[in-house]
Symmetry: none
Subunit: 216 residues, 4 copies
DNA sequence: AATGAATGAGCATTCATTCAT
DNA sequence: TATGAATGAATGCTCATTCAT
């Protein structure tokens, strides 16, 4: 499309993005029609196609914006922190925070993964997130703070545990984001073992090093 | 529906379920039409509606069967193991194994969570899975093997980390299920900390106890 | 598409072709909607798409059928005639006859030429018609009956004059096909010159031989 | 509309007419949108509707201009020629010339005939052209140069042959206009017969006199 | 049990036209 | 004069579902 937009135009476009996101999240992408969207906003159907080439394009834009915004938030949260472990903790907390404030986008991201044409976007975003975390994990390993294991695998494990806890505790369970963040941090750092068990285990197991393709 | 089926009828129905599952996984639920399914099997449209009331009913059946099968597998894997930590490890391994052998169903489950009418089924299944794990976590806590924390939260964290690692490593990364299982077990038990860091941490932090609604 | 059709199916399909041809001719291709067609026949919209992939496909089928039918008619008319000039005369008459009995198709063919995506079909059909006439023109030249000139050009001139007279005299003027056929034959054979003028001209002009690409 | 236009306004309007003609010819009337036109010119939509009431009005204007221009050309070509046969020859040549220099308009005229709302304009234009030729044909007959036959029919035959040859040879075949003009003249005057055949035929056939409605 | 045919509401998208600025 | 924005009826097409055989 690439239309030169006036200020009013930019507002309209954002209005469409916001409302569509909300409807898609509440109703599903396929089960929300363009008609639903424009009717809900009380505008004519042409408005939609003045600002977007297609329903799919708007959806892609939604995904891209969401991923971009989440990433921006994480970076900000980490910015001034020198300690690798603390950086990871703050990254986890920022994720949970963001998911809490953008619940509908969370659902959208999940749906997107289930359809072949959108899935690559999600995978790319996730790889980006993991790549962002990688240096900190590596620094942690170098500093002897983090177990010597494939940093990619560790990052993904953190991502999976954090996202799931955020959904279950915050979105479905109604708990505050901070509680979920603490739980996620605690689990990601120390797993489930008790002090005694961990000590025994760490003494005996020399770490296994699971690989993910692009490991260093 | 509830039709009394002959042996041949049962086979036909299963054929429809299997083929539909494959198409849905490859193509998406909404983007796969009933016509696609019956044409792919070389049968008439009537066949579909002889065995299922609707496309949605078939999909629900697919979800139920998948959840039931996964649960059966996990139970079997655990059956004779007395040690709580080992039970958890074997449950994790069984999950990864099953996801590896039923990749398409995994995609289906993910899609289902994104649509309001199917999401409750997924949540129920997940709660079931967590409930199944609960006694072992509690036993682990009682035995001093597992950190004193909300067992529901711990179970969910395990679920999230395991599922995500299975997807990324096995489905997307092409690694053997066993590798992913080992990584998941390792992460879930001990988190990411190194021996030294864990020791220091466990010495100082008296566990935080995050709550999830139905905790004991 | 390529659907195996029952007898009933074949009849339905033909019914659609016939009615659509009539509507297109009366109303224009673009100005006749699929809805117009199915409503006119009192059937549901699905019927149209059961038998044709698209509105465009039906139209192409219409064009192909028309060209095929016209050609069949011309061949039949010529079949047993040994004399080249008579063959040409009978071909002209057959064309006029056919256009008279298939007025609506005539309009369709004309429209088709005006749209880039259909024009090649028309050109191909015309080339076919001219190629069909070519041997007779050549035979006439060889026998000294027809002026030595590019046979392709002569054939096209015959086609142009005949079609136009058929439209103007028969379709628009309401004259019988036979009258138009006689006029076309007369003009195509002898032009407009009177006996005296022709004699003088033919005595003096040694024929110019205009070329069209594939001349022999 | 009938707007009083400044010089600049007249230029704008002509620009719209020219560009629209080109797009319609290349793309079809229905398949070219007003948006295509104004976007192609880099102006806003309002411009179009400032100068024309509707897309259809612009198209009618295009047709009228084309017919007017063609007629002007033919008249000029004939102006000073006293001999009737030469007048006809020069009229034919002028037509071919014009069609060569206005290829896109040719396509437009053809399309117009295929749609009921425009067809009358085309028929009127053709009748005008034939009426213009009529006096010369009649003069030719009176002078014994042209066969005694319905002059309207002869004129239409000339028109049909000429237009078709112009299209096939010049527009599609890439030959120079002069070649097509010579061929058309040759065919229209003498038909396809050789000297001998023509002599024999003209000796025996006392001309048939085919009628077209408004003949004298 | 199974088929080919039919239904018709619904969908994404287009586009001639109008309007406020 | 000109623009960007908006309108909304209409279009081609899809698809879950039903029906007659």
């Amino acid at each position: 499309m690439q239309r030169r937009l006036t200020e009013r135009g930019r507002r309209r476009q954002q209005q469409l993005l916001d409302y569509a996101a909300e409807r898609f999240a509440a109703n599903g992408y396929h089960t929300t029609s363009v008609t639903d969207i424009v009717d809900g906003l009380g505008v004519g159907k042409g408005v939609f196609y003045w600002y977007f080439d297609s329903k799919e394009e708007l959806f892609r834009r939604l995904l891209a914006d969401a991923q971009h915004d989440l990433r921006r938030n994480q970076r900000q949260a980490i910015a001034d922190e020198p300690d690798p472990l603390r950086r990871i903790q703050q990254g986890i907390a920022a994720s949970v925070q963001w998911l809490d404030s953008n619940r509908h986008l969370f659902t959208l991201l999940e749906f997107a993964r289930s359809e072949e044409r959108f899935a690559p976007l999600i995978r790319a975003g996730e790889e980006q997130a993991v790549a962002d975390a990688l240096p900190h994990v590596k620094a942690g390993i170098a500093a002897g703070l983090i177990r010597r294991d494939d940093p990619l695998v560790l990052s993904h494990a953190i991502l999976g545990a954090t996202n799931h806890l955020a959904r279950v505790m915050v979105l479905e369970g109604g708990e505050p984001a901070s509680t979920a963040a603490t739980a996620a941090v605690s689990f990601c750092l120390g797993g489930i073992l008790s002090a005694g068990a961990a000590a025994r285990r760490l003494a005996s197991e020399p770490s296994s090093r699971h690989r993910l393709s692009s490991t260093s």
